[in-house]
Symmetry: C2
Subunit: 269 residues, 2 copies
Amino acid sequence: MPDRRTITGFSNPLVKFLRSLRDKKHRRRERRFLAEGLRLLTDARESGRLPEMLVMSTDRDPHPLLDALEEEVAAQGGDIVEMDKAVLAKVTGKDNPQAVAGVFAEFDTGLAALDRDAAPIWLVAQAMRDPGNLGTMLRTGDAVGAGGLILLDECADPFSVEAVRASMGAIFTQRLAQARWDEFVPWLRSGKAQLVAASLRDSQPYRDAAYASPCFLMVGNESQGLPQAYEEECDLRVTIPMLGRADSLNAAVAAAVLAYEALARLDSS
Amino acid sequence: MPDRRTITGFSNPLVKFLRSLRDKKHRRRERRFLAEGLRLLTDARESGRLPEMLVMSTDRDPHPLLDALEEEVAAQGGDIVEMDKAVLAKVTGKDNPQAVAGVFAEFDTGLAALDRDAAPIWLVAQAMRDPGNLGTMLRTGDAVGAGGLILLDECADPFSVEAVRASMGAIFTQRLAQARWDEFVPWLRSGKAQLVAASLRDSQPYRDAAYASPCFLMVGNESQGLPQAYEEECDLRVTIPMLGRADSLNAAVAAAVLAYEALARLDSS
């Protein structure tokens, strides 16, 4: 059995460190993030990502997947830490915390690391503010067989607890890139790519559009949408019908409706 | 100009009443809910719903829509209240509150009040726990021209601040019903209806299914999905492809992908 440290006090420096990972500024400085729950950690492990530190509640139920995880983390020299449920609740900020959490090193999120030909669909979010929407887009990307999610300009932090949670493990299976628009366009145009905007301007019905692989589906900021110049750079502008009073869908919903349409069209083409 | 009360203290009983509306227990007892922001209140007004009480920040910017709203609330005998931004922040629980909020009476959410023939699509959520998902489903329902949202069994509160906010005004334009399964089925079968489940069991691809109006699209609890007996009652069980590691979409995303498919098929049939 691997060595374990047991922590009981709320004021332990490690507890303070773990709590600080819920704060974007600290997370950025440490380049580490937290993921909670055996299911998420198992998704990570099966995707080749092991936590540097495994944190477990002392009152956890035994589970063979947890044993396997613990063995592998220890084998690669990672830390194994136990703490009271009350202390773990303070770390994760949830009254009823999951029995296990992991600390992961952030991934390389440069565009250069993406292989655009690895998947027919890529999702692109511009200036998206809601971490839950980013996590939901990662989850949808996994479902449609997308390659990953590209974040343009100032987005919410995809390594925040809320985004990681909403991704339901897709933070580990989807590629993630972060770039400014003026870096993204030259990269995009350096190879084969179709850039598609969800748009209301000068656009065609999303069900009639000729999607082509690799297809980059871009949605904009929750309240502003995409800047006009960004839409003008797109190869296709497509509109999802809005039959009611509202003029837009939730951004993650719009991305999903487009992504499933593109998936069906690309499959049948 | 209508009479206005101005409230400056945090301990004023009205401030306590308004704050209590953020709590489900108090909201249920009072049968009142809060909606924030001029846009939402204008959506409400244009849908024929006026707040019983209009609460405005003393440092708000003037706006003709706000003037119109104030006149109408006063004309129907409603309260007009002004308060400091700091007090309003305490009421809404946001550091940077919207300049205006309204207190609304809850609507009748009985099934009997629904006219199933009023729309080709209805959304149904079973035991959904996330108020943001409920609000997003209302917003999607507005967009696809659905009649409304039917909540089955123990769902999150659709009148919570989070759900109202995520609905982006659709709480006022979509019909809302709450019922137990054993009330819903007899009501559904008392008239023309097609009940469709997003399901993995014994189901057909969602793009090949023969949707028929009025079409009731049902999604289940975020972690459990739908109970098997509920799926067996359905006229159609349809599957959205899942190409990645995850076995489900976000519930509000699944509802939207289905709803847009049903919309397109019903339109072209």
